[in-house]
Each structure stands twice: as structure tokens, then as C-alpha cells.
């Protein structure tokens, strides 16, 4: 036995293995790095082009065919309105669905399983398809027209699966012993949910909702389809025509004049600040209030 093991060239084999291992780690690090390098390049490019144009003119002026006085006030306001409406619509419906699925639905029933499968599938539907839905039903079918409310509704449907999935996870994370304790004290099912489960699930629900909001305010394609691609020089109203910040970016990027490209970069900075702040808020909430049971 001992003779045989001495014959095996352990040393050489190990050295080759070490080098292979190092090259492998190098490749792994490289594949991590590519994403970050791309992100860094993107940030640097946008900042170097657009920073000079981030000024009061951009924030307070309406768009114009003259790049020197063009701003994005109506688009920024519309994006804020869209965000507010979105939260008002998405959170109650999303949390309601999540409570139903987690606390009430009997998983042995075919319709409840179908409901879950349906939500998973909806999460994978391309956003442009939601735009078609909005075009066919909201804008033309219901005769709502190309208005801000239609945009808010379509974004709501778009991010609803995300919010439902996040809220379900938050609700599921509340341990059953808390529910049982409340039941033992004579609480009804709704009392258990509203006074024990939901308060404990709020951080998770809020994190998911904020991330959904961050995604929604950057969505462009469905808004283009329902007609947010118009020249709006006045402040938007809920029932009026509108253009949103990402759509304004798209419009400016398309124009050949390099000054408009710089304006697009400036508008991208504003949009990225909103998106990154929302993401940071979500991460902070998650870390601050995450409970380990």
C-alpha cells in the first residue's frame, strides 16, 4: 500500500491543478467584472456628455425644437404622476392577491394552482405586449384615449406580478407560530392577517413595491405604444395627453443633432438618479428591517 502511494506523483499533479484553479478563478472574476466595467463605462459616458446640461432649464422648461432652451418639465412631472398612481393601484391589488394566495387559497383546488401558474407566466410576458393590451383595451376599447391614466394602468398590470411575488414571499416568511398564537387568543382570520401577519410583512412588501416602482418609471416601450410619444409643452393631467421621462429620452436620442443627444444624456442622469435612489431605498429597507425569526 505504502509503496503504491509513493509512486503517485502527487506534487506535480497538484501544481498543475493549482494553476488551473487560478486561471479558472481569473475567468470567473473576469466574467463578474465585464458587467461592472460596462456599467462604469455607461455611467462615465452619460455623465461626461450630459452633466453640463443638467441645469434648471432641463428641469423647468418644456421641450422645444431649440436644444438650448429645451427642457423636460412635463415629462418629469408625468413620470412622478405615473409613479404615484402606480403605487396607489399596484400595492392594494398586489398585496390583496398575495394575501389571498398565501392565507386563503386552498392549493388543492385547480383554480388556485392555475392562478399561481398564471402569475408566473405574466411575469415573463414582454413589456411591449402589455403595450398592445393597453392600445387595444384602454386607449381604443374603453375609449380612454392616449392619456396618463391609461399609462399608469398599463404599468400597473406590468409590474403587478413582481409585487405579488415579493408580497407573497414577505407573507410566507412570517412564521406560522405567530398566526397560531393569535388564533389561540380567539382572533378571527382577518384579525390575524391584519394585526399580526401584515405588520410583520410590511418591510418585505415595501421593498418589493419600491423595486417595482423603480422598474416601472424606466419603462418606455408600452408607453410609446399607447401614444406617449407626443410633443407636450404643458403640465400633464391625469386625464390628459402625456409624455414620460424615458419616452423623452428616446425622442431626444433619435434626433441627429448632437446637442439633443447631450440633452438625452442629461435626462438619463435625472432618470438614473430616480431609479438608483429607489433601489438604494429598497436595499436600505431590506437590510434595516429584515427580521430573522
Amino acid at each position: 500500500m505504502s509503496v503504491a502511494s509513493a509512486d503517485v506523483p502527487i506534487q506535480g499533479g497538484r501544481r498543475r491543478g493549482v494553476w488551473r484553479g487560478r486561471i479558472f478563478v481569473g475567468l470567473l472574476l473576469l466574467s463578474m467584472a465585464v458587467g461592472f466595467i460596462a456599467l462604469g463605462t455607461l455611467f462615465f459616458d452619460v455623465l461626461s456628455r450630459g452633466l453640463a446640461y443638467v441645469d434648471p432649464v432641463l428641469l423647468t422648461n418644456p421641450p422645444s425644437s431649440d436644444p438650448d432652451i429645451a427642457g423636460a418639465r412635463p415629462a418629469i412631472l408625468a413620470t412622478l404622476y405615473l409613479g404615484i398612481l402606480l403605487i396607489l393601484f399596484t400595492v392594494p391589488i398586489g398585496v390583496g392577491t398575495a394575501i389571498y394566495l398565501e392565507e386563503y387559497a386552498d392549493r388543492n383546488r385547480w383554480y388556485n394552482r392555475l392562478l399561481e401558474l398564471n402569475i408566473q407566466n405574466l411575469a415573463a410576458v414582454p413589456s411591449i405586449v402589455y403595450g398592445i393590451l393597453g392600445l387595444a383595451f384602454l386607449v381604443r376599447g374603453l375609449g380612454l384615449g392616449r392619456v396618463l391614466l391609461a399609462g399608469a394602468l398599463i404599468l400597473t398590470l406590468l409590474v403587478l406580478p413582481t409585487v405579488i411575488i415579493a408580497a407573497r414571499e414577505a407573507i410566507r416568511a412570517v412564521p406560522g407560530s405567530i398566526r397560531e398564537g393569535a388564533y389561540a387568543l380567539g382572533a378571527t382570520q382577518w384579525q390575524v392577517i391584519s394585526r399580526q401577519v401584515l405588520p410583520n410583512a410590511i418591510p418585505g412588501i415595501a421593498t418589493g413595491s419600491i423595486l417595482a416602482l423603480a422598474r416601472a418609471i424606466g419603462e418606455t416601450a408600452p408607453l410609446i405604444l399607447i401614444g406617449a410619444l407626443t410633443f407636450i409643452s404643458f403640465n400633464p393631467t391625469v386625464m390628459g395627453p402625456f409624455t414620460a421621462l424615458p419616452v423623452q429620452i428616446y425622442n431626444w436620442t433619435k434626433l441627429p443633432d448632437p446637442k439633443f443627444k447631450a440633452l438625452a444624456a442629461a435626462a438619463i442622469i435625472v432618470l438614473l438618479i430616480m431609479v438608483l435612489l429607489l433601489n438604494a431605498a429598497a436595499i436600505w429597507l431590506r437590510n434595516r428591517y429584515q427580521k430573522r425569526w
Binding site: G17, V18, R20, G21, F24, V25, L28, L30, S31, M32, V34, G35, F36, A38, L39, L42, D45, G96, T97, I99, Y100, L101, Y104, N118, N121, L122, A124, V125, P126, S127, I128, V129, G131, I132, L133, L135, A136, F137, R140, L157, I164, W190, R215, G218, E219, T220, A221, I224, I226, L229, P246, V247, I249, Y250, T253, K254, A265, L271, V275, N279
Partner: protein
Amino acid sequence: MATRAESLSLAPPRKRWGEVVIKAALAACALVSVATTVGIVVALFLPAFEFFQEVSFRDYITGTEWAPLFLQQSFGVIPLIVGTISVTLWASLIAIPLGLGAAIFLSEYARPRVRATLKPALELLAGIPTVVYGYFALTWVTPHLKDTGLDVGVFNALSAGLVMGVMIIPTVASLSEDAMSAVPRDLRYGAYALGSSKLQVSTRIVVPAAVSGIVAAFVLGISRAIGETMIVLLAAGQQPNLSFDPREAVETMSAFIAATGAGDVPTGSVEYKTIFAVGATLFVMTLLVNAIAIRLVRKYREVYE
């Protein structure tokens, strides 16, 4: 004692109508998702059906020229499908190896604290609005591709595909990492006990054990690439092109839908209905790809306790 026992009843209490109403309201919330699906199917397939009464389905699905807005109309969807596949291919070439590499690093090599920072940072890539990526592809990537000597057009499939690939790295990485983290520790320890190196454990134990989840991550990334709109609309062009040449402009299905929907085609015209026919095609394609993912997961799933 006896009297008290009689007043104690284990029968259910009176029905609380408030509870019933609340349950009904919550179920109604859940119905919104169902209504959305039904709405999508009706919104896509009803006008698409009308479209195919004017244009033969065979011409549509086998035709090689797409020119719905020209005087001499032609409705062959193949160029749009080729454009979509071309861009998706380039995106996958970026996202699949890099996403998998990042996932192996996060799951097998990174310390918990490093992973806790890097994973959300990587996911930030997926949080950047797609219109921003489109801007980047058009105004930075394409000129730099030209600088390297590639003879690319102002609009080309390559830059759109590369940037889209970067965008879906986190989708692939995050889901693959979840699958790898779910592989039981015991399998790794077993391999180490037999003298394996970390490289061998990663590539011969963990990746094969997590393969169903990894493949599902790939397919989900691909399905995102197929439906992505803004990057291709800005950087790949709006020119139906039956070519896999990455240097040329192509039009994808999603870009066609967005460009036509934003234009002024009159409601009810056959041009207007093309939006829905192409939308239905896109929808069916993404559904098929997702169905393949679910199939693969079921087929190769290893169940651990």
C-alpha cells in the same frame, strides 16, 4: 360543572359576514391577474385573426419580405423573426458564459460578505432602464465598434445584441446562483474528501447538480432578449433585413410593434392589424421558450432532501 360544560360548544360560531366580504375582496384582487391574461390573449388574437382573413397565414409565416407600409404590400414575417433571433444570439453569447461565470464565482468562491455586496450590485445592471441601454448602444458601443475596424452601420445587430447581453447577465447569474446554492453541502464535502480541487467541485459536482436551474436561467434570459424592445429600437434599426450579418441593421418583432404602434396607422386598417399579428407571434414565441424551460427543469431536476 355540568351546566358550564353545556354552555361550552365546539360547534362553529355564527358566520362572520365581515370575514366573508374580505375574502371575496381579496379573491377579486387575484382575479385582476386572470383578467390581464384573458385581456392579453383577446387583445392579441382577435385582431390577429382578422388580419389572417386578409392575409394568408401561409404567406405570413413563410414569406421572406416584410413591407406592410409600402405601396406594394408584403407580409412575410421571416425577416422580423431572423432579426429577433440574430440579436438574441449575440445577447446570449455574452450573457450565458458571463452570467454562468459570475454565478459560479458568487456561489462557490465569494465569501458570504463579498456575495452580499456583489449580488445586489450586479442586479443593478438589470435595474437600469432599457432606454438608457439603447442610448448607450447607439452612441457609445456602435462608434467604438467602428473604431476597432469593424465595418458596422449606424444601426447594427451587434451593438444591440452586446448591450442586451450585458443587461441580462444578472438574470442568468442570479437564477443560476440560486440553483447552485441549493446544491447540498454534503455533495461538495464528498468530492473534497475524494481529493477534488475547488475547480473540480465547481465544474463537475455543483454545475451538473444544478443544471436544471442553470438551463432555466439561460432560457429565461433568452426569453427576455426576445421581447426586449428599446435597445433594438434605438440601436438595431427599423429595417427588415433577412440577414444574420451582425454588422447590418435589422428590425426585430418588438421594434416593429413599437415603431408602428407609435406611428399614425389608422385603426382597423390591415397595417394596424399587423401590430397584433406580430405581437401574437412574439407572445407565442416567448411562451414556447418558457415552456421549454419548464420542460427542461422537470426533465433534469435532481431532488435533494
